[in-house]
């Protein structure tokens, strides 16, 4: 069922009033241009973002929707039909759910985003929702996380909040081949050599449990998740009559157990740590008859935040290790990402800035510099500037965009 139909169905018996409790909207335009090469303008879009909240007694509705249209795909463009289909227009719910009290807790039902952990734009415990990578891997997570249909129950007991959820199945969305955001990191099997068949069984709910609270002076989180991998792993089915290798996309189920801690160390420092263990994680391995291997995986994060006046400076390390790594796996035995960011607000909160350096060692092969600025001369006007500069080799997450350094200008009217 489409989200809009569900919304209408749910609201009809409740008798929606003309004026909701709260609404706001933002209508914006954005221009993005590459800093190298020919035909540099790659985005000329408009976006409508709308929020609505209403309540009926103790039942409440929260909705946030987004619609985008990119005029760059009108007329001639170098990106092909598939990219035009994927990027010309797009609409989604950032969230759309009903909430109500239940048994001294709260039940929420609908399309939701749930963020576990305290990492800054990195994902260790944050595994509940998939991500839309159509605009590359460098968009802010809040803009690219995909809301999932979900039933979620939370209950507070003293300093602890307990959470149980069951979520529907969606997958990460990769950039369209041939698009501005395409990259070898997101590569799918080449149709010249592989006949990729759609997944046979990738449905099934994800189940999660979490507890967030305090152990003395330390903030602590414990999470457990049973879900399907968001990215496909291709199982080999043997040669096709046309000589290509038939493969089937699979999204195997795994279990994750994780914990996160945060503590104020004094001297303006907060230390954050996360650790997640993934059981039965599958990694593509073309040297295997089945096309993949199963391994356990550990993801870990260590972060430190330093607060100085209006600036929050953060350093993070994220490590990822395949515990049963085997020769031929399309994934390194261990990978590391470092981020250093500074985020501040000035001029009575009118100007907000964020500077980011992210890299994987060796940094010369894979690094990304970003500057994000937003300026609000008045409550109704928001101006934005985003600069992205990449360094590295073609096969790395950031290096793949080395010749696609770009800047984006935006303006939005806030209703």
């Amino acid at each position: 069922m489409r989200p809009l139909s569900l919304l209408a169905l749910l609201l009809a018996p409740l008798g929606v009033r003309a004026a909701p409790d709260y609404w706001d909207a933002e209508l914006g335009i954005a221009l993005a241009t590459r800093l190298h090469g020919e035909d540099r303008l790659f985005q000329r879009s408009t976006q409508l973002l709308a929020t609505l909240e209403d309540s009926w007694g103790e039942v409440y509705l929260k909705a946030k929707g987004r619609a985008r249209y990119d005029f760059r795909y009108e007329g001639e463009h170098p990106y092909g039909e598939a990219a035009e289909e994927a990027y010309r227009h797009d609409a989604d719910w950032r969230h759309l759910y009903l909430g109500m009290p239940l048994a001294e807790g709260e039940l929420t039902l609908g399309w939701q985003q749930v963020v576990w952990g305290r990492a800054d734009e990195l994902r260790v415990l944050d595994q509940v929702n998939p991500v839309d990578y159509r605009w590359g891997g460098t968009a802010l997570l809040d803009d690219s996380r995909i809301a999932l249909p979900m039933l979620r129950y939370t209950r507070t007991s003293g300093d602890w909040e307990w959470e149980a959820l069951a979520a529907g199945s969606r997958k990460n969305r990769a950039p369209e081949p041939g698009s501005e955001f395409d990259s070898p990191v997101f590569a799918a099997p080449d149709p010249a050599y592989f006949h990729a068949l759609p997944p046979e069984d990738d449905r099934g709910l994800a189940y999660g449990l979490s507890a967030n609270g305090r152990l003395g002076e330390i903030d602590a989180s414990f999470v457990a998740l049973s879900a399907r991998q968001f990215d496909p792993v291709y199982a080999s089915l043997g040669p096709d009559p046309d000589g290509r290798l038939a493969v089937r996309a699979e999204h195997p189920r795994y279990t994750m157990l994780g914990t996160g801690l945060a503590a104020d160390l004094g001297n303006s420092l907060v230390l954050r740590g996360e650790l997640a263990y993934f059981d039965r994680w599958r990694v593509a391995n073309p040297s295997r008859e089945t096309g993949s291997d199963e391994t356990a995986q550990i993801k870990s994060l260590l972060g430190i935040d330093y607060l100085v006046r209006e600036w929050l400076i953060s350093g993070q390390w994220q490590g990822q290790r395949l515990l049963d790594w085997r020769e031929g796996m399309l994934g390194a035995r261990s990978e590391h990402v470092f981020t250093l960011s500074a985020e501040g607000s000035h001029a009575q909160d009118r100007l907000k800035s964020r500077f980011l350096l992210a890299f994987s060692p060796p940094a010369g092969d894979d690094a990304w510099l970003q500057g994000l600025f937003s300026y609000k001369p008045a409550d109704w006007l928001k101006l934005g500037l985003e600069i992205n500069v990449f360094f590295g080799t073609d096969t790395t997450m950031f290096g793949a965009y080395d010749r696609r350094d770009h800047l984006r200008l935006s303006a939005a009217y806030v209703f």
């Binding site: 009290p101 420092l269 935040d305 409550d379």
Partner: protein, 278 residues
Amino acid sequence: MFTPLKILSATLMLSLSASAVASAETDADAIMRAVRDRDDGRSFLSQVSLILHDKNGNARTREFLYLQKDYPEGDKFTMFFSAPADVRDVAFHIENPKEAQGREDSQWMYLPVSRQTRRISTSDKRGAFMGSEYSYADLDKVRVGDYRQKLVGDEVLLERPCHVIEREPASPETLTKTGYNKLKVWVDKENHLVMRQDFFDVKGVLVKQMRTLSVATIDGIDSIMLSETEHFIDGTRSEMRFNQLKYNIELDDKLFTQAAIRRGLKAGDLPENALSSL
């Protein structure tokens, strides 16, 4: 030449003067303790408008709900921002232990843009509270032992007789935390409300002034209804207007947790009479 008589006189004068200073300090400590310990109810709720005025006279208003509750170990505060859109659902939770415990407070902030609750270090409180001229340090509960203070006079403000007290940081940590080298505080002699406060930077320059502009008695407790802070260097000004104020209402403990700021405020969270008046 110093004769024994002169030495005795000088010693007497010195000791008299020292005891006058000690007395002024003792009085000032007692007054600041009275400010810290004044009756502000066992719980407190208010709808607050934070109005930011830039140097060109333009104003922007931020609305939030402010909740406070007393606990045996100290006070807990929660703030839920509701407007404008760019700060809606931002929330803070602060736990402020009693000064005798000798511990710093603990703070958490929920930012809807990251959908995460983050712990904030409290060692540096010089930052502006939501872009206003109030720093996080200015909004802290008074801590007597963090400063050396002395009574320097009496003045009348808003027709209220006030003590005038000068405070200087007792340690480099306090100076680092607040950024103020000296505070001059006007305290209402009768109800111990702070009626005015001057803030001096490390160079001794008067950088900011906080003024109480309106006081009312609510539920038998004298309360600041309108306060304003002016930044003399930046030429900016912020007002904090307490539009509705209620004391001693039943506030659920679940509103004073980290989980509360992520969850946000829902119908039924506040007593019915509190909701109807807001």
